[in-house]
Amino acid sequence: MSVRLPETPRLVLTLAAAGLFSGLAIVGAYRLTLPTIQANQAEALRRAVFEVLPGAERMERLVWSGDGEAGRLVPAEGTTGAEPSVYGGFTADGRFVGYAVPAAGAGFQDTIRLLYGYDPERDRIVGMEVLESRETPGLGDRIYKDETFVGRFRDLAVAPRVELVKEEPAAPNQVDAITGATISSRAVVDIVNAGNQEWLARLEASPVPPLEEEGREGDVPTETGGPIPGGRQ
């Protein structure tokens, strides 16, 4: 070692240089990958919205503007990505299909995040997709792998509330629990009910927002704090 600096400044200098290198490398990698990551998240969200709203081919993020329940839905442009929002689904020619509502809650193992489609005209849930969960493979994961269970959410009445039953459903607002995955099934129903609790009154009170033109169909939040995009926190 030929350089003979006094010991303490040398230590400080080494760590400062390491920190500088680290900061530059991380910022560089972040800037390089950010567009791709955001495009991936937007694509995943769009696919989910179109999945739970049959017929939808365009979407718009909508936020609740106003105090408490007195307010209305407005397009999310110009707002930050943090506030609760839903997604309006439209056909290719601009006809309103329904809302895609994100909701999350405790599952058997970890938080389950899902998205469900709601048609306010018929007052029915028209689709449901689990976006993120860590339910037990082979048992709890049937909340998104079991066609019968997922199928129940393709035409499900929401009034007075969605009910979980143990036998074949007799009423239009009933879902039968998956054998061996009652807790996960109940979690999904509870999450959907909680989402309805939060949003249904608002969605019914608010006029259907017009789809903004200029081909903004890919408009999705870019902030990672948004309610859906991105997987884990």
Binding site: L15, A18, A25, T36, L139
Partner: protein, 217 residues
């Protein structure tokens, strides 16, 4: 910087030792947390192994190149900063290139920072050897780790899902052993593989003894 090459085959020796004789998972039994946690499929094992190999290789090269500049008193902190940087880069890259795999691996990519194999190789090897040897060692150890994870993940996927790298192997009538892709399956499979390793090692020893005796007679 370039130390005199005592043995041209040394780099090869450093490379090959990590793959088998000193395999970080099966022989040193290090890095158990990712080895058990994310190896429920071959693809997850491969992604985790690849990310670890990248971090180990880059860190080893940089730390070996800077080994005369890093003061002893702050070497561990410096290693951790370097390792954490490459882990973050790998995290972003994987998130951009393969979002689905990234979601499966979750927090375990970030946890490569605390993988003892990586810090261990810096302290035990890269900080004392030339860049060339450090790189060979890192590729060997990282490759050995990736090999172990793919082996574990592949075996668990075949039994637990009836597929390998996502391709179904047995058709409809196969009833998967779900336990193998659950956390206990990791322990069962690792135990089984360690058993095979021990058997092979013992068999070799016996064979060597036998040959010796025969030679002596």
């Amino acid at each position: 910087m370039t130390a005199p090459l005592k043995d041209p085959n040394q780099a090869y020796a450093e490379f090959i030792k990590g793959l088998w004789r000193e395999n970080p998972v099966f022989v040193q039994v290090l890095g158990m947390c990712p080895a058990l946690a994310v190896t429920n499929t071959a693809v997850n094992g491969l992604a985790m192994g690849g990310a670890t190999l990248f971090v180990l290789l880059m860190s080893s090269i940089l730390i070996s190149a800077l080994r005369r500049l890093i003061p002893k008193a702050v070497r561990i902190s410096t290693y951790i900063i370097v390792i954490a940087t490459f882990v973050t880069v790998a995290d972003y890259a994987l998130q951009a290139a393969a979002p689905a795999v990234h979601r499966e691996l979750g927090a375990f990519i970030s946890l490569i920072v605390v993988n003892c194999i990586i810090l261990g190789r810096q302290e035990a090897f890269a900080s004392k050897h030339t860049v060339r040897l450090a790189a060979a060692d890192a590729i060997g150890m990282g490759g050995g780790f990736a090999f172990a994870l793919v082996l574990l993940g592949g075996a668990r996927e075949v039994l637990g899902k009836g597929s390998l790298f996502g391709f179904a192997l047995f058709g409809e009538r196969f009833e998967p052993w779900v336990i193998m892709i659950l956390p206990p399956g990791g322990f069962l499979m690792l135990g089984a593989i360690l058993l095979v390793f021990a058997w092979v090692a013992e068999g070799r020893k016996k064979l060597a003894h036998k040959l010796e005796r025969e030679a002596a007679e």
